[in-house]
């Protein structure tokens, strides 16, 4: 079983899958880092974005990668609006209210999708979905390679925004010291909404990268978010680098355990790891102290 013919492709596949996980986790960790809330609606938003990408292809004939160009700003605005006009006002600044509101939102979005599109599992077929790139003994699916590159690029852009732009600095300021940021003239409600928008935009990109090789149904996003929560805890709450490394690592563990334990048991590895990390490093690999 340990022959390199199997091991190398399994490792590469794992990294490619992990990249998508990382992107979903990135949105989650960003929102947690700044708003200090766990966004339970993340999975539902991912399903919604996948439906958007699906219909962009099915109805308008748009390639998912092209769809990403306009879905990303659209979902940014959607996320911004959600936080600014719904979650923020409804939560009245109380953490437990944030949790309940996003949980409620998840239920509403999922059931709206279920009502509109039923429980059917839908897929799209792209001419290049099964083309491969040969790397040594491994054949890598083109959409996965594209996804991997895109995720690394998005992470770099996001990191640059946080590091060098005024908005990024404001986000970091709010994350560190909300009251201080408010006193120095930063519009906290606006920054909250921008952060939520960025998190939602990450989800839109992830959806467009996923749809060529994955299926969509009203609960398709949940599988990813459960894993993304694991990654956020593993990488450290609020850490961008943590989300990326955590995502890649989880993808790797999942791929290898699928090969060695079987498809049905593949996810066991992830959750065993999750428990171990919680026991040994409760703040995650890259997390600051609580």
């Amino acid at each position: 079983m340990l022959s390199p013919v199997i091991l190398i492709p399994a490792v590469l596949n794992g990294l490619m899958t992990g990249a998508i996980y990382a992107l979903v986790a990135l949105g989650l960790t960003l929102i947690y880092g700044v708003l200090h809330i766990i966004n339970f609606a993340h999975g539902a938003l991912l399903s919604a974005a996948m439906f958007a990408a699906f219909f962009a292809h099915a109805q308008l004939g748009l390639d998912p990668y092209l769809a990403a160009v306009f879905l990303t700003p659209l979902f940014f605005l959607f996320g911004y609006g959600l936080q600014r006009f719904l979650i923020g006002p409804a939560a009245h600044g109380e953490d437990r209210n944030f949790l309940l509101v996003t949980l409620g939102l998840a239920i509403v979005i999922e059931n709206a999708l279920l009502y509109a599109f039923r429980a059917d599992t839908r897929t799209i077929n792209l001419p290049y979905a099964f083309s491969t790139i040969e790397v040594g003994s491994a054949f890598l699916a083109v959409p996965r390679v594209i996804a991997f590159v895109a995720v690394v690029a998005v992470t770099a852009v996001l990191w640059a925004i946080m590091q060098w732009t005024d908005t990024g600095k404001a986000i970091r300021a709010v994350a560190k010291e909300k009251l201080g940021a408010e006193l120095s003239g930063i519009d906290v409600a606006h920054i909250y909404a921008v952060t939520f928008g960025l998190g939602t935009a990450c989800v839109a990109v992830a959806a467009c990268l996923l749809i060529p090789t994955y299926y969509v149904n009203p609960t398709a996003g949940d599988a990813f978010v459960l894993i993304a929560f694991t990654i956020v805890v593993l990488g450290g709450m609020g850490s961008i680098t943590g989300a990326l490394t955590g995502g890649l690592f989880v993808g790797l563990v999942e791929s290898l355990s699928s090969v060695f334990l079987g498809q049905s048991l593949g996810q066991i590895g992830i959750f065993v790891m999750f428990i171990v990390v919680l026991l040994l490093r409760p703040n995650g690999l890259f997390g600051e102290r609580a």
């Binding site: 022959s3 199997i6 492709p9 429980a119 599992t121 083309s131 491969t132 699928s258 498809q263």
Partner: protein, 410 residues
């Protein structure tokens, strides 16, 4: 709940309206039939038309409704004064629970019999629910043998079960392999992990070694699975002569395409009840991945003119002539024949009439219809192979339209 019942009532409304229109058109053309208003015979038509199995479910529903339309336009159930069949369409939502809920509703409607189910897991639970109300239930596809071995008096299966299919599949595999000089010795089985796939894998694991094959690995996966790369890597590691998949349509297509993508080329892909292996849809959409795949599965009788006429009708509708279509078509005709002979909508009388059926107006390559403990003893699968852009019957020889190509040309 509100969502589901409202959707169903809309569909049923459309359905009833469509039937009404058809019936009205029929009456206009044949005023002689216009006597007192004929009563209707309500039957339940249950399929998983949403969820993971929705494609198969919709195909099944198509076959059933085509048969019902045909019966209704040719005068309905004559023994009941030309009563039209009124189908109550149910959606099992690809789960056993969904199937149960629909059977409860059908019983309350009330219907006089139920056909369908499609997936083994759905059939197992739906027949049991129907049995509580002595409601006759004719299974369309569900192949797990325990569907008919639990002693349920209401449950009938027109098609073949696992036992017969696995036995035929193995005999034919041995025959094909022997004919080619025994190039295949090792096997990997890939199966979906519910009642159908797991049951079949168990049977194959027990019987393959006796036939001189070595099972290198048995790989289960859930339905739906969208990622077959790890599985294909395992196949690659085992490097078998034969790959035997037993799963539903979506997963089968993905497995075949991923194998092609990862350059895994065994000597043959020989499936037993492969969800896509003998589907025109698969052959048309992915001819390269489908090429030379062999399958032991349900198939229509290619020498029956009625089967070919139905094929044309289905294709004229822009649909694929898949096994769900002709099996459901045949099952509805079988039930209608039983109601005709029972001359009643009484459930017990219909059960007796099905049990004594010798129906021959179907489109399947079966022997004489004879039910023993609910199982049709004449039912049998055939072996098919994708050759070029068509699917050919390669065994048994009475129905064969081509010779097997084995091993696959590299």
């Amino acid at each position: 709940m509100a969502r589901r019942s409202s959707t169903i009532s809309r569909r049923r409304f459309l359905r009833t309206t469509a039937l009404g229109t058809t019936a009205a058109a029929g009456l206009l053309h044949a005023p002689a039939v216009l006597r007192a208003q004929a009563p209707t015979v309500k039957i339940g038509v249950l399929h998983p038309v949403s969820g993971a199995l929705s494609y198969s479910g919709q195909q099944g529903r198509l076959g059933a409704t085509m048969a019902i339309d045909e019966i209704n336009t040719s005068g309905g159930i004559k023994a009941l004064g030309g009563a039209k069949i009124d189908p109550m369409l149910g959606d099992a939502q690809s789960t056993p629970d969904g199937g149960n809920a629909e059977v409860e509703k059908m019983n309350a409607a009330p219907v006089c019999a139920v056909v369908g189910g499609y997936a083994s897991a759905i059939c197992l639970s739906a027949t049991q629910t129907a049995a509580r109300y002595d409601l006759p239930y004719v299974v369309d596809v569900g192949v797990v043998d325990s569907i008919v071995t639990r002693g349920l008096k209401n449950t009938f299966r027109f098609g073949p079960g696992f036992g017969v299919i696995a036995k035929t599949a193995l005999e034919n595999l041995v025959a094909i392999n022997d004919q080619a000089g025994k190039p295949a010795k090792t096997v990997v089985i890939v199966h979906e992990d519910s009642a159908f796939g797991a049951g079949l894998a168990k049977l194959l694991n027990a019987q393959l070694p006796d036939k001189g094959f070595q099972v290198l690995d048995t790989i289960p996966h859930p339905t739906p699975t969208r990622e077959f790369e790890s599985i294909v890597l395992k196949i690659k590691a085992a490097n078998p002569d034969l790959v035997i998949p037993a799963n539903y349509y979506n997963e089968y297509v993905l497995l075949a395409r991923t194998m092609l993508q990862q350059h895994v080329r065994p000597r043959a892909i020989y499936s037993v009840l492969g969800g896509a292996a003998s589907s025109y849809k698969f052959v048309k959409e992915f001819p390269e991945a489908a090429q030379y795949i062999m399958d032991c599965n349900h198939w229509f009788n290619p020498k029956n003119p009625k089967a070919l006429a139905l094929k044309k009708q289905v294709e004229d509708k822009g649909q694929f002539y898949t096994y769900e279509v002709y099996m459901n078509y045949s099952v509805v005709l079988l039930l209608a024949d039983a109601i005709e002979r029972a001359a009643s909508t009484d459930r017990a009388k219909i059960i007796d009439a099905i049990a004594s059926s010798t129906f021959s107006g179907h489109v399947m390559p079966y022997g004489p219809t004879k039910f023993a403990n609910g199982q049709n003893q004449g039912a049998a699968p055939v072996n098919t192979q994708v050759q070029g852009n068509d699917i050919q019957v390669i065994l048994p020889e009475t129905f064969a339209s081509a010779k097997p190509v084995f091993p696959m040309p590299a």
